[in-house]
Every structure is written in C-alpha cells, then in structure tokens.
C-alpha cells in the first residue's frame, strides 16, 4: 500500500456518522530481520501487518477498537465496537476531543525505497561480512541485520489527514572470543550506508583486546560510557518528561520546572526531525509534534503533552500522544546534545577509570529519585594513565542518574543508538562518580 491507499483505508474506517467524532490510525509495518549466532544465521524472518485502530468519541467519552482486516465488514465491526465502548464509558473529567486540521513539517529524507525492498540475500551478505571479520579474529559473532519500513496515516472526522513513511536499517554484533566479548552497532535510514565489516571489526577488537579480565574494586569510579550505554541510561529518564508522570508525582520533575537538575553542559531535546531520527512529524492522534527542549544547560525547561494532558494542565499540546492513551504522552526522539572533546580525549585525560561499551538489564530501583541498577556487558575496560589497560569482569552498579548527569563531560560526536523500547541520539560521556556495587565472575 502507498500513502494514498492507506488514507483511503482510514477514510473508509471513519465513514460512519454514529459517533460525535471518530479517528482512524492506519499503521503499516514491514519488518525483516536476519539473526545470527556462531557465524551462522539461525533466525530469519519477514513480517507484514496493516493495523487499523479506531477511536470513537460520543459525548466526550472514548472507545477504542482495532482490526487487521481491511474489508468494509471488518472496518464496520471495529468501528461499531469502538462506538459501543464509547457510549458505555463513564464521562471523564476532561471530555475527549480530537484535534482539528493541521500542517506538518516533514523531516529530511525519512524514506529510502532501496532499504524498503532489501532482499534476504543482501541481509545475509551483510551478515557474512561480520562472520568473516569475527573468524579472522578467532571469535564468533551473534547479532542481527535488519530493515524496517513504518508507514502511518491518521484521519479523523475533524479533517485531520496525516501520512508518513520512514525506513530504518540496523545491525548489532556481539563478538565472542575465548576470554571476553565485544559489542558494536549501527543505524541508518539507508541499508546501503550500513558498514557491517566496520561494525564487526569494532566488536571483534573489543573482544580480543580485553586479554585476561581484571576485577574492579567495589566503590566509586570515574566511568566513560560509550553511546549505547549512555542511551540506555538516559532512556530511564525519558518517562519523567511525560505530563502524566509529572501530574502523578512520580517524576523527579514533580519538584518543578526551572530548577537545575543536571550540569550546565547537559541539554536534552525531543526532536523528531534530527537527521539521525528523521521520524514521524505527528503523533498518534495527528497533532503536529513539536521540537521540545526538555533540559537546557541542566535546567528543566519543558515536558511533553497531548490533547488530553494539554487541557488537564492548561498547557500547549506538544503532539506526543501515544495510541491507547493509558500511559500518557511520551517523548519519542530524545537527543543528548554533544560536548566539546572527543571520546579519545576523554579517555586520554582519565587517570584511572572504567570504559563501558554497553549496559544490560537496567531497572528502576526508586522511580521518584531516578535511582537505577544494572550490569555492564560486552566490553568493559580498565583505563589507567589515559590508556585502555585490558578488560574487566562485568560489574553491577547502583546510581542516581541525575547525580551522574550533574557531574559529567560529554563527547563531541553524537550517534543514533537504541533498544527494544527506545531510540536515542547521544554522545559518549564521562561520569566523575559511578558507584560499583558488585562484580561478576566473567
């Protein structure tokens, strides 16, 4: 389907007049992912789905229903279920309203047709290049090469007609050598830009450079985290910038905007149009998404809203609605602005510290205080006198993220990183005081 066909499908879905207002969100998702381990492909898939989500509003009350059927009967069934739910729902304090007509500022080059059509043989060849590098290093590789096309259309009875298509290509690799493992990743809008040989080589070098693994002392360390690690850490701050979380009192921002929460060198922005994101310019109800400065020079400036939370809190709508609505608005393209010095300079100016390639299983220990615990994995190194001095066993940490960001230095280059539930653009960072709680046996 193209945008025109998706819009036509959405318009068919909202064609009935039984609701006061009605909205359809059509999402078309095509995921292709080639997964490998021990230098062979063990999972390889291609998945297509078109989903139609309908929100009906009756007397200020909303009901939701969805279907992946596309004929008129399927759409009518879903529409009628949504209307029936809306008629039944108790009236909310803030009546549900759908947004009106809007215009959108499209990001640059979000879609690459060649990436959308990448055949499995091309993904396999990209994986083979990683295998070759790993074998040469005496290691084996586990990871994936993936492409995805995400298309979304929102249409509502108030005249919203919004359409967007974007592609993403990604690879990640863990190289496993006899003693240690190493990690590297890459993201791009274009599959052709993924250099899997380079990604494999970075991961393999980390695995083989480690040597015999040392055991770090328990206590406070100077720690340099590479972008995948900083991204995962900051991802646990992102929910704090939701209007709902703040209203509930579970965000550190419940103490108020305009306060200094982090160092003056830290600025966080939600920016869907950043060249490394180039993602959808509207939210799940078709409101234009704003570029929102969340933290500027360490001071809390703003948070994100949607139609409902803008009205509840008497603020502007920043266009961050998430379909379903139960968890409230959410930032979806957070950028950590870069600093002044290179990653290499940060290492060279560290007398004694630890370099972390990647974190694992970070979880919230205390949500209001933003205390988290987690582990390192796949490339943890000792730094002495400005040089990497070999690998370390993995360590557990307990840190307050705001404390880390209050005393940190950021590198001068940002990259796209991400996990299963977030995307982020960020640099590397050096934290002055990072608390190591325990150490693993490997």
């Amino acid at each position: 389907m193209d945008d025109r066909e998706r819009l036509a499908l959405a318009e068919r879905a909202i064609s009935d007049g039984a609701a006061d207002s009605i909205e359809a969100l059509v999402s078309d998702q095509h995921d292709s992912l080639t997964r490998f381990t021990h230098n062979s492909i063990h999972q390889n898939l291609d998945s297509l789905q078109t989903l139609v989500q309908i929100r009906a509003v009756v007397d200020g009350r909303a009901g939701w229903a969805s279907t992946n059927g596309r004929d008129d009967g399927d759409l009518a069934l879903a529409r009628n279920r949504a209307i029936a739910q809306a008629r039944f729902a108790p009236k909310p304090i803030v009546p549900v309203r759908l947004p009106g007509k809007a215009t959108y500022a499209m990001p640059q080059l979000p879609y690459d047709a060649a990436t959308a059509d990448t055949p499995p043989s091309a993904r396999a060849e990209a994986a083979r290049k990683i295998f070759a590098v790993a074998e040469q290093a005496g290691a084996w590789a586990a990871g994936y090469v993936a492409t995805a096309t995400s298309s979304v259309v929102v249409a509502n009875s108030n005249g919203i007609r919004a359409a967007f298509s974007g592609t993403i290509a990604a690879t990640n690799t863990k190289c496993v050598a006899p003693i240690a493992s190493g990690y590297a990743e890459a993201y791009s809008r274009r599959f052709a830009d993924l250099d899997t040989t380079a990604v494999g080589a970075r991961a393999a070098a980390k695995a083989t450079d480690a040597g015999e693994l040392g055991t770090p002392d328990i206590g406070d360390w100077t720690v340099i985290v590479e972008p995948p690690a900083l991204g995962e850490l900051v991802a646990f701050l992102v929910p704090h910038f939701s209007a709902q979380r703040i209203f509930e009192g579970a965000s550190f921002l419940a103490d108020g905007l305009g306060r200094q929460y982090m160092g003056e060198n830290v600025t966080l922005i939600d920016d869907y149009a950043h060249p490394l994101f180039a993602t959808c310019p509207f939210d799940g109800e078709g409101s234009p998404t704003e570029r929102v400065t969340l933290i500027e020079n360490g001071i809390a400036k703003d948070f994100v809203t949607d139609m409902e939370w803008a009205e509840r809190l008497e603020r502007r709508n920043t266009g961050h609605y998430v379909p379903g609505g139960a968890e409230g608005p959410y930032p979806r393209a957070v950028v950590v602005q870069p600093g002044q010095r290179s990653r290499e300079d940060l290492i060279a100016s560290t007398k004694r510290g630890i370099l972390v390639s990647r974190f694992w299983y970070i979880r919230v220990v205390d949500q209001r205080k933003a205390i988290v615990t987690g582990m390192t994995r796949d490339g943890t190194f000792l730094i002495e006198d400005g040089k990497l001095k070999g690998g370390l066993k993995n360590l557990r940490f307990n840190v307050r993220i705001l404390d880390l960001l209050s005393s940190c230095e950021l590198s001068d280059e940002t990259v796209r990183t991400g996990g299963y539930s977030y995307g982020m653009v960020c640099p590397a960072a050096r934290f002055d005081r990072f608390s190591v709680s325990s150490v693993t046996s490997y």
């Binding site: 291609d46 229903a65 615990t373 993995n394 299963y420 046996s441």
Partner: protein, 487 residues
Amino acid sequence: MTPVQFEELAGRALETAAVRHADYADIRFEDARSERIEVRNGEVIALRDDVSRGYGVRALCDGSWGFASSDDLSGPGIDAAVARAVDIARASAAVGTTRFGMAPGDAHVGTYVTEVEIDPDRVSLEQRVDLLIAAEYALHVNPAVRTGRAHLDVWRTKKEFFSSIGSQIAQDIRQIGSSVHALAVGNGDAQDRGWPGDRGLYMTGGWEVVARAGLIENAPRIGEEAVALLSAAQSPSGSLDIVLGGSQVSLQIHESCGHPAELDRSLGWEANFSGTSFLEPQLRGALRYGSPLVTILIDNTLPGGLATCGWDDEGSPSGTSDIVREGVFEGFEMSRDTARLIDCTTNACVRAQSWQHVPMIRMCNLNLLPGTHTLDQMIDEIDDGIYMESNRSWSIDDRRLNFQFGCQIGWEIKRGKLGRMLKNPTYAGVTPEFWGSCDAIGEPSTWVPWGTPNCGKGEPMQVGRTTQAAAPARFRNVRVGVGYDGR
C-alpha cells in the same frame, strides 16, 4: 471453534513448500481477540477491543530456517508468504556453516480448549467496568493516594497448526488477568503497592480468575500500605535472613531459573540480546543449583497456568519435565531444533507472541514445588530478618548469576515476630548460592500459579505469557539494602 477452519489454505501452503523443495514446513493460523479496560482515578482511560488474524509460515531448507508472516488469507497471499519463507531460508543457507534440523517428533491431530467455569463473554461490559471502578475507588483511603489504577485483560486466541509431517491441531486458549495499583506521594517520596502480587493475577480460565483476585476486598489495605510506606523506616543494609512472599519467589524463579534453563540461551542463540546462561548441557545431573528442598518442574498441563495448552507452537504435546530436582540441575526448556543438538527430544516449550512472530523457546509453566512450612513457622525461626512482598525492581546479569531485586514492601522480623513496616527493601545475590540458602518453602495451601503476562525475549522483541507457581520461601544470610546503602 471450527476445528479446521484453515485446512484448505494450510494444504495449499504445505504443498507450495514441498514444490519449492522445503525439507520441512509448518503454518500456524491465529485469530486473537484482546480486550482491555483500565480505570485511573475514577475515569475509564482505556476501553479497548482488538482483533488480529493472520498466519506465520516456517520453512526449513538445506539446514536453514526461514519465517514469513502475513494477514493476506487469500490463496495467492498464502503462496507469496510460503515463497518468502523458502527464499529467506535459502538466503540463510548461503552463508555460515551451521546446519539446523529437527529432533524426532510425531504427527499430532487433535483439539484443545481451555476449561472455563464462567465464560467472560457472559460478563457484560457494564459489570466489568463497575468492578474496576469500585476496586479503584476503594484504593483511595487517604488523599496521599495520588493515583489509583485498576485494570482487566481478557484474551482469547484460536490457533490452528499444520505441518508437513502431518500434524493438524486446533486450540482455543482463554487467558485473563486483573489488578489494582496505588501510587502514594508525599514527603518527597513516591511509593507503589499492587495487588495481587505486582502485576496482578493472570491465569488461563474464565471470570472465576477475576473473582479469585479479590480486587475490591484488598484495595483498601493496598491503599493504606502505599500511604504508610511514605513514612515507614528505610529497610536496613547488611546480611540478614529473609522470607519472600509467593509472588516474589515466582519472579525469582522466573529470572534465575526459567531464563537460564532456556536451551537456546545456553547454546548462544540469544547471545547478542537476551544473553546466555550459566547452565550448560554438560552440567545436567551434576550442578548443585540449590538446596535439596528446591525442585523446579515444567508443567504445561497445570490447571490455570498461563502457558497451559495442548500443544506448543511447533505441534509438540504439553507435559512435565524436571529442570531442578532436589537441588540438582537436570534439564532445559527445549524446542525440536535445539533438543536435537543435545540428543534430547523436545519438552514443548515453543511459543510465538502472535501469528506475526517466529516461534522460539519460551519459559512456559515452570513451578517450584511447595514445601511443608507455614508462613508463621518460617518467620518464627528467624531471629533478625525481613519479610518482603511484591516485586518493584528486577535486574540480573546476562548469564543469570548476579541479581538484585527490590520489593514494594517489607516488615522487620525480630525474634520470630513480624515488626514495623519497612520501605524500599532490596536484596542481592548469585543464583546457585542464593537457592542453596533456601531452607524453607511454604506448604501447598500457600502455593499460587503466579502468571507473568509480559516476559520479553528475542529480536524483534516478543512478549511471552508464563507462570511460575510458587509459595513463600525463606533464604538465609542474604545481602540486603543494596541500592540504598551508597553501593
């Protein structure tokens, strides 16, 4: 359900796979309905009814797998999906050296339907919403309860599975879950309490499961406890004896036994994401995993188990098998292709989140057998310790050894008696040492099939539904207070 609604399309798919020289193929159709209601502070904030229908095709060609899914239920749509699966498998076979195969398996023909006492379809939307509004309202015992939530999930999945070895299976699986949750805010702090357990009570079955959850009856206590936690003493640090409530023991089994016993992890198939395992095939029958009290079994026939069904998603029949027997590691959760690599047969632990997702090894029903102690006896035998309930935080390393968990609430134990309430209790350890310190497990009346509806694994990430039945248990000399002690 119509037992073989998709037989004709399945025949076309398997024939197409054969024509394209697939060595093995299967096709799994799913027709799923998911209903969710969520109430927050007196308002219904989610009232959803989602349906999804489609199929996934697996093809094994030249020792490599391909998987394609589609919602196009036309004949040409089936042809195209099978062609994609075969093409993907051949692309996989063109690189790498490992060749995959299947452990022997029989063809199965049959149907399975979840037993339901009270059909949720007979419970009106009005009754459902009324229950949640009343339960959520009952949380607000004090203005400090800033946010109350109550929710209900009702899931029905009809599956049909057909394979090139002749299996033809139809299943109609019903799952349901509900919970209440209070967030209290004050004194610069925020404290959560949930019931039942931390995620709710999720089981296979019908409305009787919601009745068993006791939402309205327990909501006032949960609200009161959330508020009391705001002024409770900080849980201490050090090394103490602890008793864990049943739902926390369930989480402990899930993270430190269920995941490491997945054979795909042990073989490195999840190495780049979900991680590997300290449990290796050569350690079966030799590794001391826990104390002799600890026996952990797979039982995918357990009544009410969230993963209970007739056959798994590659057509193997549900049964029981040992993971840990009297403290000794005995076996893995397996699929047909991984079982072959350690000369075993599968124990039917393959699941896919939906028709869109590739089937893979998932933790299913994995249960710690009950012991003989009452909760009072466990506490009575402690001089200085903590009783902890309901998970709040969970983190474990990528081989499933070094863990740190936090609970929503704790109580001091002094000289055999429960004392004052404690906030932010945490504990940490290393898996075999921790289970080795287990010296009491609750008796059968305290044993509950705790379901987890949102277990993540795989790339792309899949959400699995699993049960770890458990009773309260006692562990000696455990590190506590981590995360709040400056370390």
